[in-house]
Symmetry: C2
Subunit: 359 residues, 2 copies
């Protein structure tokens, strides 16, 4: 088992990465929670596979479990699901001493985390991410969120869990497309870190190669992310580096209207931001092809879909990462050498124009 310790200003907790950890969940949870009611929030995809195992584990450990299932998919990151879950907690008389366990991918983690953060001004939370993307990404850092029609993750909170349990064994039930998606996030982390982590990706020449390497790749990604988050909990400095590939990625994801998964959009964003900064002379051209090769090895998309440049720019102007009149980009001058680069919102269209002229 890999244990990664996260210390924030308000909380200290562990991320446990272990094959079959789900089969020891009761024991793991009793180390951080005394007996209480637990709302296991899951979705219609994950629930049928693991809700019973989790319920049995927690019940055997003395917890009173109530499973709350939301429809699978990004649409559940909505006000109506927040209200529905909160009404269920209230109807079941959940008190401040009870807890929420998020069992699912990023959507469930974001939604259940947000609900836990605002019900009675915050009740205890444990994250059990079940997708590769959620295991390497959204379960670490305390970000919770729901979407608005005007953009993703526009409402949410920073809220740290008491424990994160990651079981790489359950990735076998993931469709290949979702494995590849999560791997895109691992490529992002490795490109930011460089060194051995980056070198280790050369063994991943297909989606099938991800599974056996998953425990190590997850541990390396999570350890990196935990380091960054500890240094900058509220995303005012270094943590912005984690947005590498997300500026274009978020916009492309929104405009693709459900046709691209988050990790796929980020894969496109990673390659395109490298290309953009290469066009501006701030990054070597070779970096674009290097990154592209790693992502294409598992079949991830790297080229922009046919969308109007103006539409991408318009979406970016509404990005949460806009601070005042500037949008802060992340680029690499080499693998392992990330930098922040603010661009005035009014100059975005001109600056981005180069992207379409060179691609």
């Amino acid at each position: 088992m890999t244990n990664i310790e996260v210390k924030t200003r308000v909380k200290q907790y562990q991320i446990k990465i272990m094959i079959n950890s789900l089969h020891h969940l009761g024991t793991l949870v009793t180390k951080v929670w005394c007996a209480r009611q637990v709302a296991v929030v899951t979705d219609t995809n994950v629930g049928p596979y693991y809700a019973k195992l989790v319920t049995d584990e927690l019940t055997a450990a003395g917890f009173k479990v109530r499973v709350m299932t939301v429809p699978a998919g990004e649409e559940s990151k909505s006000w109506s699901q927040v209200q529905s879950l909160i009404n269920q907690l209230s109807a079941a008389h959940f008190s401040r001493s009870d807890g929420v366990l998020a069992l699912g991918g990023g959507v469930v983690g974001d939604l259940a985390g947000f609900v836990a953060s605002i019900y009675m001004r915050g009740i205890a939370l444990i994250q059990v991410p079940t997708s590769l993307l959620a295991q390497v990404d959204s379960s670490v850092g305390g970000k919770t969120a729901i979407d608005l029609p005007t953009g993703k993750n526009l409402v949410g909170s920073f809220y740290q869990p008491d424990l994160v349990v990651i079981d790489p064994a359950i990735l076998v039930t993931l469709p290949p497309r979702m494995l590849a998606e999560g791997y895109g996030e691992i490529v992002k982390c490795a490109a930011l870190v460089g060194g051995d982590f980056w070198q280790s990706l050369h063994q991943i020449t297909s989606v099938a190669a991800i599974l056996p390497a998953a425990p190590d790749l997850i541990a390396a990604s999570v350890a990196f992310k935990a380091r960054v988050v500890m240094a900058d909990e509220h995303e005012q400095g270094q943590r912005q580096l984690l947005n590498f590939g997300h500026t274009i990625g978020h916009a492309v994801e929104l405009l693709a209207d459900g046709q691209l998964m988050h990790g796929e959009a980020v894969a496109i964003g990673l390659v395109q931001v490298c290309r953009l900064f290469a066009a501006h002379g701030l990054a070597p051209t070779s970096l674009t092809s290097t990154l592209k090769a790693r992502l294409m090895a598992v079949g991830l998309p790297t080229e922009l879909p046919p969308i109007a440049p103006q539409a991408v720019v318009a979406v970016m102007q509404h990005d949460k990462k806009v601070h005042g009149a500037a949008l802060t980009w992340v680029y690499l001058s080499a693998v392992g050498q990330p930098h922040l680069y603010p661009i005035a919102v009014k100059d975005l269209a001109t600056w981005m124009g180069d992207l379409w002229s060179v691609s």
Copy 2:
């Protein structure tokens, strides 16, 4: 001007108490905020009096102001108002670098504070409380909330403002009933603190006597509350003392269905909790009449309205202050001598029964 410094784990800010501080709001705000968009959230009672002054002050200081008005009254602490305000912020392209200024009583402070805490995972907040109750109570401590049909303040966050500006001069526009309500909260603080603060209340023999004493009474109450909050930001220990009178108060308020103001319900709660603990031999009987005299001097109610004991108990079982199977009460063994006292939820009905038998 009285300056009270509040230091929490995540933020340090000042509470400024000064006659006519609203006329210097621009200058005060520029000390904590650089130029940005500001959403002034107010309600249909307060807006007509002060929204223009606040807008002029902020505009002259270089801020871009947008006034957002909600209907006056507790009903605005609702999901629909949260969504409406967030949609307005999003439509106006508010970014993480912009801010919310809450201009109003407790409802506006709770609602606008909650919105500020979740929009883009938290944007800057300034509290300008305009009712006496909000000035002494809800603007200090970082509690934000909305209500659910099942209870008050069941959804919310702990979110600290960058600044709190209190102008006792604007209390002249308050109806006497609201002045008395806020004074009830001052009596609560003074009873917890004791000493000179408590003694100073003997000069308040009518509602009219509140206004000239307001700056000192507010300063003493806020200083006390700030001390407690600094020691226990997330209400796990000492901060629970501030719930003195609220256990019965909240239940009575809910059951009175809008007929009692919050401070009136708390006044009843203060006297009844003293009576209850006296009946159980934990407090002197004289304390009940002492407290009652201070509250009745300004016409506050102190006796239970005709409601069924079972109803009060049923509501209490759903109180946020229920931890596991116990509800933690606050009682005084003497003025200035508060204590916490947990009672098992299953014993509440029996324990409370004494209240009706002795009153």
